[in-house]
């Protein structure tokens, strides 16, 4: 029967990816989930006994006493979510009009500009962020030019603030918003916009009734692709936020590298993963619905 041959071919085709994901992705993830329910050992590593307070600590109860409620980690988590969402909004506002503009250019310019947005990937992330440190610090390029122009007399405090973190994250993640949004704007059939204005739709109504709904899949993809790395990011807050703007990513990094509390770090990671998982499910369902419509 042809069936058996088919099956063997399928095994050959899917074998490598299964092996790779199994050993490098699912395995470590399982370890992480298990660790998140274990007791921290004194100098890193774990004690093999069930321990629920890793999650308790995230919510604000560091021990079994109910009085000691202090949601400091929950607050960091919420701040991370807030910053990640803000970053999504900022990038959307920057990238959507830019994508509309680029898609209206001639083919040569379009290719060039799309290529340019990926150019930063050729330089190390740390180097690029360090340049931002040089720009934003009190004696940096930004402050000296503002003072030089006479707009301010004292350097403004921008480095090691949330603003600096947002600038850095928007900068790092811009291509992840621009490319999917551009892809959907580019695909948009211009004759539909013309049909709308022919039928009496003003530019604003045309935008909200035709352009936006038809490019929603790109916006959703961009939002998810930006939100997830924003939430888990620790390099940007580390370099541009200093010790002041702690995000969940920094917290996890600290738990593994300095505090040596692997189970707590694992619990934090699991939590981020759950949030992202929910988001991706939501996104896929949205895409599925869009697909069914078109």
């Amino acid at each position: 029967m042809a069936r058996r041959g088919d099956r063997r071919r399928l095994a050959l085709l899917l074998g490598p990816v299964t092996l790779f994901l199994g050993t490098c992705f699912i395995g470590p993830m399982a370890v992480m989930i298990v660790f998140s329910f274990l007791e921290p050992a004194l100098y890193g590593g774990v004690e093999w006994s069930f321990y629920h307070l890793n999650y308790g600590r995230i919510l604000g109860w560091a021990d079994s006493e109910w009085e000691s409620f202090d949601p400091v980690y929950a607050a960091i988590f919420l701040r991370s979510v807030r910053l990640a969402l803000t970053n999504v909004v900022i990038l959307l506002v920057i990238c959507y009009p830019a994508a509309l503009w680029v898609s209206g250019l001639s083919a040569r310019w379009r290719t060039l500009l799309v290529f340019l947005t990926t150019l930063p990937f050729f330089v190390s992330l740390v180097v690029r962020l360090f340049i931002w440190v040089l720009i934003l610090r009190p004696t940096g390029f930004l402050n000296s030019s503002l003072i030089g122009l006479g707009l301010i007399s004292e350097p403004i405090d921008i480095i090691f603030t949330e603003t600096a973190v947002l600038i850095g994250m928007a900068y790092v993640l811009l291509p992840f918003m621009f490319l999917p949004v551009y892809a959907s704007v580019e695909k948009l059939d211009r004759s539909l916009i013309e049909a709308s204005s022919d039928l009496g739709g003003s530019p604003l109504k045309t935008f909200f009734r035709v352009t936006l709904p038809l490019t929603l899949p790109g916006i959703a993809a961009g939002a998810v692709l930006v939100f997830i790395p924003s939430l888990g990011n620790f390099i940007v807050p580390d370099l541009l936020g200093g010790a002041k703007v702690l995000m969940i990513g920094n917290l996890i990094e600290q738990q593994f590298l300095s505090a040596r509390n692997w189970p707590f770090g694992s619990a934090l990671s699991v939590m981020i993963m759950v949030v992202m998982f929910v988001l991706i499910i939501f996104y896929l369902r949205q895409i599925g619905r869009q697909g069914a419509n078109q």
Partner: protein, 378 residues
């Protein structure tokens, strides 16, 4: 000009295009002149067809009227108002697009109701009107469907419904029937005519199918390379084409260019290769002209033709059965092809001729149309 036509011409036209010029920058460099000084009027309740080969500027002319394209020179007036500064969404015209351009994310009902929605028509009223229009074009109850769940013909109807729901004073139709098969196209032609009559609005209809243009229109404008060659009734185009291009584009027939010579009582057209064709008495001699011989002008020559006839000697190539009639494809001495489609006794006489035989064909010398002036080279 008939009385009715004259009365029409005194009204303000629904739409008027004056000396329109539109150029595009070609990607290869250089300039394409899509409209080269086009002037056209559409009167109230009139069905005007723009006819011309692919790339002659038909779509561009419609887009200029609807405002989707700006003119480089000239102007567009709608109901007497200059439209130069009026954006497309404020112009009282609607378009049925060449590719329909239905909104893929909206249902049929929302597509058709789009014009009412953006105009802010209350929901109840809007739904009733959408229902009515869909009913009118034979798609009652199709509101919840998606455009991709429709056949080509149904999509075409939805595009039509969407464009007429706002009751525009002028409807622009860009080859709306070209994607449909022959039978569907013929029934839609009739339906469109009826619809135009019932709505009482003007249609500016684009096609590159001459038959469609002739059967549907009050007036036809033939467009070639961004210029209007002739505007007039279908009959005028068929019987009295103004240029060689129109003569070639509309209907069948053979064209002969040459000089009018000979005595005034027997003027003949002499072509470059020496063919002599009798033309109508009274034609001014010593000028260049083009003679259009339509198949129905030709029949088997009588034994002794009198001076009212022109006679040509041809070799029969093929006799083609057409159902109700026959046509006879023949070859002239200079290699040119003429087709004869005589009726009655004339047809019988020709049916007895075997392919390859020589035969004499005759035409009444005052019947074929003579296009005076130099051959325009197309």
């Amino acid at each position: 000009m008939s009385g009715e036509e004259e009365a029409r011409n005194q009204q303000t036209p629904i739409a008027e295009v004056r000396e329109a010029v539109k150029r595009f920058a070609a990607t290869e460099g250089g300039v394409i002149t899509a409209l080269d000084g086009v002037s056209l009027k559409v009167q109230p309740r009139e069905f005007v067809t723009l006819l011309g080969p692919s790339g002659c500027g038909k779509t561009t002319l419609l887009r200029v009227i609807s405002g989707l394209e700006e003119l480089d020179a000239g102007e567009v007036l709608i109901a007497g108002e200059p439209m130069t500064t009026v954006p497309p969404h404020r112009r009282p015209v609607n378009t049925v697009f060449q590719n329909y351009a239905l909104f893929p994310h909206l249902s049929v009902g929302d597509n058709v109701g789009y014009g009412l929605d953006v105009a802010g028509v209350p929901r109840r009223q809007r739904n009733t009107r959408v229902g009515e229009v869909l009913e009118r074009i034979g798609l009652g109850g199709f509101e919840p469907r998606r455009p991709d769940q429709l056949s080509g013909g149904q999509r075409q109807r939805v595009a039509l419904a969407r464009a007429i729901i706002n009751r525009p004073s002028l409807l622009l139709l860009d080859e709306p029937l070209s994607a449909l098969d022959r039978n569907l196209r013929q029934s839609m032609q009739l339906e469109l005519k009826t619809l135009q009559h019932d709505l009482g609005i003007s249609f500016l209809f684009v096609t590159h199918d001459q038959e469609e243009a002739l059967t549907m229109s009050d007036r036809v404008a033939v467009l070639n390379k961004g210029r209007i060659e002739q505007v007039g009734t279908p009959e005028a185009h068929y019987h009295r084409p103004a240029t060689r291009f129109v003569a070639e584009f509309i209907g069948d027939g053979a064209l002969f260019s040459g000089r009018i010579e000979g005595p005034t009582e027997d003027p003949v057209l002499v072509t470059g290769d020496g063919l002599r064709l009798a033309v109508a008495l009274g034609t001014t001699v010593n000028q260049v002209a083009t003679l259009l011989l339509r198949p129905e002008h030709l029949e088997a020559a009588p034994e002794a033709p009198d001076a009212a006839f022109g006679v040509i000697e041809v070799r029969l190539k093929q006799s083609v059965f057409l159902g109700a009639s026959r046509k006879f494809v023949c070859c002239l001495a200079n290699g040119a092809t003429v087709t004869a489609a005589p009726t009655g006794a004339g047809a019988q006489a020709l049916s007895r001729v075997a392919p390859g035989e020589l035969v004499r064909l005759a035409y009444r010398r005052d019947q074929p149309h003579l296009i005076l002036g130099a051959d325009d080279g197309t």
